[in-house]
């Protein structure tokens, strides 16, 4: 399905991605503060979705537990900031590592299963993680969560609670994430991820170790989720257990399905369209989730490969 897309295109592919980044960077100058702040949120959510896409879109690992990885990053960054006054830089690194380590730990056990069992096991791990956050409420703040002190939301002297530094920080995280995911899926390792998705038995016969490839892919996915969780905590000043609920496992899946699973730009497009849909629909009716749901049903009926998946299939074969 994506063989040509992952490796073809050459210069066009990089130009397309860099052009998107250029447009996003410039957006801070021409968007209103309200929309620019929403774009920050979309970029953070898109990083989460990019990670999900690596596991699901490219490696075929349908996880229902990514909320755990998001929360791992959020608390690995938020707790040291809250308890020991870490500044944003070290806290962010801790968050990325937290997401990656949690994914590796879950993967070691969950990857013994596949398909529906993998979905259920990851869902159970996420639920256990959520309950753990509630159980240790004196430290984690439980379901209420906690607001981060402004002193912890500083990096290189910049205050991340101010519009411009926050936008730039989110942009840098998003840009690095996007380019890394493009490089990854076009690398030999990225092709072995796709091989796991397409035919695990055949790739095993060719000498790959499916367990290790999938574990590495899941850990990469966890790094992204961790980065997104840490970024949310530090950029918006809040960490809470609601981010570990099933809703946040479903959301990245929806973003990826909407934008196009197995496309590098699909997660961003999905997050953007979904955010815009909720924003527009909530202005029209209090039953806005119904409109969003109807839009998703229409997508499944008419473009089951998502927006970019459909575009790639019909018109732009080189889209990665």
């Amino acid at each position: 399905m994506t063989g040509g897309g992952v490796t073809g295109g050459g210069v066009k592919v990089w130009v397309l991605h860099l052009a998107l980044l250029a447009v996003l960077f410039s957006a801070q100058f021409w968007l209103s503060p309200y929309h620019a702040t929403n774009l920050v949120r979309i970029m953070v959510l898109a990083v989460f979705a990019m990670g999900y896409n690596l596991a699901f879109g490219y490696t075929g690992l349908l996880s229902l537990g990514h909320a755990l990885l998001l929360a791992a990053g959020m608390y690995a960054a938020g707790l040291p900031a809250q308890l020991w006054g870490w500044s944003a830089g070290p806290a962010f690194i801790a968050g990325v590592a937290g997401g990656g380590l949690m994914a590796a730990a879950v993967g070691l056990l969950a990857l013994r299963t596949a398909g529906v069992s993998f979905m259920i096991v990851t869902l159970m791990f996420a639920q256990a993680g959520f309950l753990t956050l509630l159980y240790f409420a004196p430290i984690t703040g439980g379901d209420d969560g906690f607001a981060l002190a402004n002193a912890s939301r500083r990096i290189f002297g910049f205050d991340l609670s101010a519009d411009t530094p926050r936008f730039l920080a989110a942009f840098v995280i998003f840009a690095l994430g996007l380019l890394a995911s493009l490089a990854l899926v076009r690398s030999p390792f990225g092709r072995s991820m796709v091989a796991m998705r397409e035919n695990e038995e055949r790739s095993r016969m060719l000498g790959y170790n499916p367990f290790m490839v999938k574990l590495a892919a899941l850990a990469c996915s966890g790094l992204y989720a961790g980065a997104a969780g840490a970024a949310y905590a530090l950029l918006f000043g809040y960490a809470g257990a609601s981010f570990a609920t099933i809703q946040y496992s479903i959301l990245p899946m929806l973003y990826v399905l909407l934008g196009g699973a197995g496309t590098t730009l699909g997660p961003f497009l999905g997050a953007l369209v979904m955010f815009a849909l909720i924003e527009a629909a909530s202005g029209l009716t209090s039953a806005y989730f119904f409109l969003v749901g109807a839009a998703l049903v229409a997508l499944v009926l008419f473009a089951p490969k998502g927006i970019l998946g459909t575009i790639r299939e019909r018109w732009v074969r080189w889209l990665p």
């Binding site: 929403n38 379901d143 607001a147 609601s242 981010f243």
Partner: protein
């Protein structure tokens, strides 16, 4: 004057001006193109007058916009429905009484899906996109925690109606206040003297195993100890639990009072199973918080075991015989009957012990805006300082739940509480606490924090 009106010169904010100008035809247009000397003088005088009083003239017409962060969907929807109705009723009362400082008031509702992430986005939308002067109305604590940092960044007053201890604990910021409802710490503490004097001193607590339950566990344990009582068991029930029978043997034999604060749909199962556990034999006294049964009819089949048991209520759902003079007017304005249900649907039971907070918050805002001489977003800091300066607030139609004292340092309001007993399936008030029962030492002084 008539000519000037039709040209729109005297009333730049009157949007009828241009329309009337068009309708009045050629003669007006001619007078504009070839003004008389008298007309010019009048226009010049009017211009000077407008220039001299720009703020005043603009303020007369421009409405004050209040953003309301509403739990329209999600776990808080039952509360949200009544919060919206109560706030709309207060809005009507305020506008009928001349608005705020003579300006009309608008409420803009935006659903936050009872989710902290969406909550922060809603604060953003109401403030930056809709241009609201202040944001208010949030109930669930986690949405408050998730939204307050954004309100602080936007420097917009954020008035929550949550009863959480988050504001008074010092966890939030200078821009977040809770002026409409007493916090849960004070509510719990105020219960202890009456419980120990009337129900018993040996208390077993059953509570959900997360933050809401821990507030009850920690604050009530300390409060009952101060009354010479003791908590003989603390039974935390995981939030995912659907059956409770296996926890009941943990209740010690000598227990005199079971203090329960289960919430959500599980409360019906909890009560039914507790009834089966004790059967028709001797049982301890039961004391609970009405949060368990907000929007639930106390005569619901399955709740018979609660007959004779006691509940905390902030505002008695069933109108007491000795209710205050403004109680009837408040109920009529919101559309609630004497049993605490919607006048149009007796099965639609109100969240009566919480929703008054939106009414009282709107009137608090009116008082503070008028005291601050609020004219627009540039005065937001002045507005917060005016709120912090408010202290005693007497009983009146502005505060149908009762008199209050606002503590400007902790940004938290304090009022009296009630204890009601279920008699014949209805809640009947049997006791009202004093404000002193719920007093505790300040944990924070927000007035020393920077804006």
């Amino acid at each position: 004057m008539k000519k000037l009106d039709s040209s729109g010169a005297l009333t730049p904010h009157d949007n009828q001006g241009p329309t009337r100008g068009r309708n009045s035809g050629e003669s007006d247009m001619t007078s504009l193109l070839h003004p008389t000397r008298r007309g010019l003088l009048l226009a010049g005088g009017a211009g000077l007058l407008t220039a001299a009083l720009p703020g005043h003239v603009a303020a007369q017409g421009a409405p004050i916009k209040i953003g309301f962060q509403l739990h329209r969907t999600g776990i808080g929807a039952a509360y949200g429905r009544w919060y919206e109705r109560t706030a709309q009723a207060a809005l009507k009362a305020i506008n009928d009484g001349g608005g705020i400082a003579g300006r009309p008031v608008e409420l803009l509702f935006e659903d936050d899906a009872t989710d902290p992430k969406r909550g922060a986005e809603v604060v953003d939308k109401l403030t930056q996109s809709d241009g609201c002067d202040v944001v208010m109305g949030t109930l669930f604590s986690h949405v408050v925690m998730g939204s307050a940092p954004r309100a602080g960044e936007l420097k917009v007053p954020y008035l929550v109606c949550s009863e959480g201890y988050h504001v008074a604990s010092g966890a939030l910021n200078r821009w977040t206040l809770q002026p409409g409802i007493t916090d849960v710490r004070s509510q719990i503490q105020a219960m202890a003297p009456w419980v120990s004097a009337n129900l018993g001193k040996k208390v077993a607590m059953v509570f959900p195993d997360y933050a809401f339950g821990y507030d009850h566990r920690d604050f009530f344990t300390a409060a009952i100890a101060a009354q010479g009582g003791e908590v003989v068991a603390q039974i935390a029930i995981p939030p995912t639990e659907t059956t409770f029978t296996r926890y009941f043997p943990q209740i010690p034999a000598g227990t005199e009072v079971i203090y329960h604060v289960m919430v959500g749909p599980a409360v019906l199962t909890f009560v039914k199973e507790l009834g089966e556990f004790y059967g028709s034999g001797a049982k301890p006294q039961l004391f609970g918080f009405i949060d368990s049964l907000e929007a639930v009819d106390t005569a619901t089949p399955g709740l018979e075991f609660l007959e004779g048991s006691h509940f905390w209520e902030a505002h008695p759902r069933v109108k007491p015989a000795d209710a205050g003079e403004h109680e009837a007017a408040y109920r009529a304005a919101v559309g609630v009957d004497d049993n605490g249900a919607s006048v149009s649907d007796p099965a639609d039971v109100a969240t009566y012990s919480h929703m008054f907070s939106t009414w009282e918050t709107l009137f608090f805002l009116k008082q503070a805006m008028e005291a601050a001489g609020y004219t627009g977003p540039a005065d937001r800091q002045k507005l917060v300082e005016a709120m912090e300066a408010i202290g005693d607030m007497p009983y009146g139609i502005e505060r149908p739940q009762g008199a209050k004292v606002f503590n400007g340092k902790t940004h938290q309001v304090f009022g009296t509480q009630n204890i009601s007993q279920i008699q014949g399936g209805k809640l009947v008030r049997v006791h009202q606490t004093s404000m002193a029962d719920g007093a505790y030492d300040d944990a924070v002084d927000y007035t020393t924090m920077a804006f």
